[in-house]
Symmetry: C2
Subunit: 539 residues, 2 copies
Amino acid sequence: MMCRLGARIDPRIDLADRRTEMTSTPASPRARRGGRSARHALRTARDDRMMPGLTRGIPVCDVMDGAQVERIDAASMDILENVGVLFRDPVAIRDWRAVGAKVQGEMVYLDRGLVRDLIATIPADFTYSARNPANNLRLGGPHSIFVPMTGAPYLRDLDDRRRSPTLDDLAMFHKLSHMMPALHSSAHHIVEPCDHPISHRHLRITYSSMKHSDKTFMGMTTSPRNAEDVLEMCAILFGEAFMEQNPVTTGNCNGNSPLVWDETMLGAMRAFCRRNQPVLCSPFVLGGANTPASVPATVAQLNAETLSALAYTQVIRRGCPAIYGHYLSTVSMRSGAPMAGTPEISLMNFMIGQMARHYGVPWRTSSLLGGAKTFDAQAGYESAATLAAVIHSGANYIWHSAGWNEAGMHCSVAKFITDAEQCAMAFRMAEGPKWDDIDTALAAIPDVGPGGHYLGHPHTQANFQTAFFMPELFDNNSIEQWQAEGSQEITGRALALARKLLGEYREPKLDEARNEALLDYIARREREIPAAEALNQEY
Amino acid sequence: MMCRLGARIDPRIDLADRRTEMTSTPASPRARRGGRSARHALRTARDDRMMPGLTRGIPVCDVMDGAQVERIDAASMDILENVGVLFRDPVAIRDWRAVGAKVQGEMVYLDRGLVRDLIATIPADFTYSARNPANNLRLGGPHSIFVPMTGAPYLRDLDDRRRSPTLDDLAMFHKLSHMMPALHSSAHHIVEPCDHPISHRHLRITYSSMKHSDKTFMGMTTSPRNAEDVLEMCAILFGEAFMEQNPVTTGNCNGNSPLVWDETMLGAMRAFCRRNQPVLCSPFVLGGANTPASVPATVAQLNAETLSALAYTQVIRRGCPAIYGHYLSTVSMRSGAPMAGTPEISLMNFMIGQMARHYGVPWRTSSLLGGAKTFDAQAGYESAATLAAVIHSGANYIWHSAGWNEAGMHCSVAKFITDAEQCAMAFRMAEGPKWDDIDTALAAIPDVGPGGHYLGHPHTQANFQTAFFMPELFDNNSIEQWQAEGSQEITGRALALARKLLGEYREPKLDEARNEALLDYIARREREIPAAEALNQEY
């Protein structure tokens, strides 16, 4: 009789009882007295507690030597000094003048000395607070987190049907984010709640993130005023004073490559930085279309763009945490569409990781991306290739880690669940080998001897459940068994698991007073904001 | 108007003409006079020339420090000295006695000094010769090759139907191996030709490998006598004297973990080594079932097993090339089946790579494995995760690199084609970033300037086709375009490409005299060998 091994094992189950799972020896009288069925229930209950933040134990893949890092740095600084960056925003222009940058119209030329001086005050790591302090996360250096995808205008739902998402769909993804142990955040608009007015969405999205999970979440940056709303809601949830000292949300600000930052993003950036909340400074790079057709030159341009925004965060508020970001793809010259899982994206991630470490700034990338239209093998290859590269690159803020398909046009429930398990597997790999029980494990070898087998050995019985990860969503049965169970491909199995999880979901209740204050704030703002504003899509 | 970019571009096409592919400027008079349609045909012709052997340009993922490498080495040597290895083969027992090993019955206890002395003469790298010398490959150190899967008792065919394979199916896979540029070998029995008597198959399999491709191929090791037949056929193809100096085939010898080598494999090993042909010394490891439930202890046992066989190759013939091998999986405790793409398999690959490099021996691993029953997203995740780990591990002989699904029970045509393209992508990544045109690429940045785009820039036009890999089998079109083209998932697209390739296949003809000698040899042996012998399945 085997127990279910996909879920993590409750440490309260003692070793002697576990052994009975693997051998046919009768249960001991003690075990019988102890209520075997109760313990069986414990064992088979899913452990949906969040895994801690990942602290990596394997090396990063450094593809550049020191001279090449210097070469990229010098090229980026040359771009900042001589080509310049367009800041299409009068406030930013004024701010840049005030710190002595050379400004001509909207063009800003940043001296490398100024850039280096500004970015020097960005913290190398920080703690990202959740409303449940047990879910706080360290970010930067060897510390990484997995954050689900956001921004999908469509979903593939529990029936794998592609359609427009609703607020209920968004809540579903927030619940799943809460329950999948390797996801460290409920993010924000995983899907666009299209049943709600665009100009009010940021309020409902933020509330949904806060309500359905007690993990960290992201803050909308669709406009400066929307960002202010999000931060007001954070202040209600965490307290203004706490926020002054502690990052409680993260906002993404996309740049328009090549070398442009616009007013919307810069305004949102100011809102976040002023309240000491970190932004992801993310040029939106489509290699070959808005960068040169060269891996190192693309990295040099991207690095210049990111540095210019990182520097600006410190103009806004010295010492404010900030994250080296990017959305990075290469472009299919057939369709102009972004690709995923291609070798140059992996190489650029390795290089960008080196640059971010060179500057000592936590960095963000995107993971588990797919351009497939369905959850087919293409999606699997693309996603796993991206994930592997991201893990070896040493990225800290690993965004879009669940659900992304069709180049971000839809979030797939089946893929969301599968990706989240992939994150758990990547987590395990990135921790590195576990050496703690090497001596007892080696002692089993003479016990078993040549030609024997280990399944019955006490060391195996004590350790098989933790020694080797067993993915719940991969079917490793024989084809006969698989056929007997209905010949289900992974999409069907993942959707079945998603339904089961949603059936078991328990809401981590918000404090009642804060919940009411949040709802009051939303109600007031929905009265104030006209229900027709343009949506600024972000990635 | 865009040209097809999936195929590699013929270098004979001059730059000026390429530019007309990307801009709407009229073709120059010269281009018109030059026969535009002819050049278009050139551009769209598939380039199926083999890529060279991979020489890696990115670092390996070393997850152990020096002390941990020493710890594994010491643990393995302890096993060899004190636990012993079963050599179930009287000849091997006699050989071991002759070199002074301690022998008790079939148990051999190998002193670490003897082991180190023996393995010291294994070449760190060698050239693996093909009948077309342009397809010779270097193997070892930074030099790696991709070899298709072998041993599948079933296939999923051009209609994705799962059935027993025939000799014609095997020929089909050999043709596809020949045409996919990143596959460096036609291997041997990619699928089992079940329409031919088991005892004669090795002859037909070997001939099919030799005939349908002029790349390297593998030699069957299903029995010592079968191995002799294969080597005789190699002698006909390459000449006996050439073989004495040059590896022209590789044979796999599986060990039975824990710590057993049997007569069949050892006999085949002797046949290969005596003729200076390399064998892969591959313990068959199912982590947790035939090894301890621990990553480092599994590696220690596997390492001991491999070392014992590597040492024996040098007892057979000093200086003979040999390859550190393994088939490595972790076991699902639900079904007892091997899993693929799990984190511990990746970690063990990293560690085994370190051990092989520690001993200075070329090493083999398995790639692109899947346990899925169909070519669904599970297969994609498993395959890409395995491939990434293998690439970062620095493996030299990257076996099972195309087609493997259902834990090796079937070879899928669709997956074969897709995997082969994945190998091309991994190849590109493992080469590392290309810095050769960094200066001209950087010069494009001021040309374009903030807010511009690069698609029309001469540097882009000259380089986009080589700068960023564009996978032919990934669809990156919009969903509307994809639907307009028939809503095909990757399986359908890959099968269509396979049919197209087979239609374009041109046989690299064997020298007529050698071909006749080979056919004579096969005819004679088929008269001599009774048509009913047991099949020894190998992995």
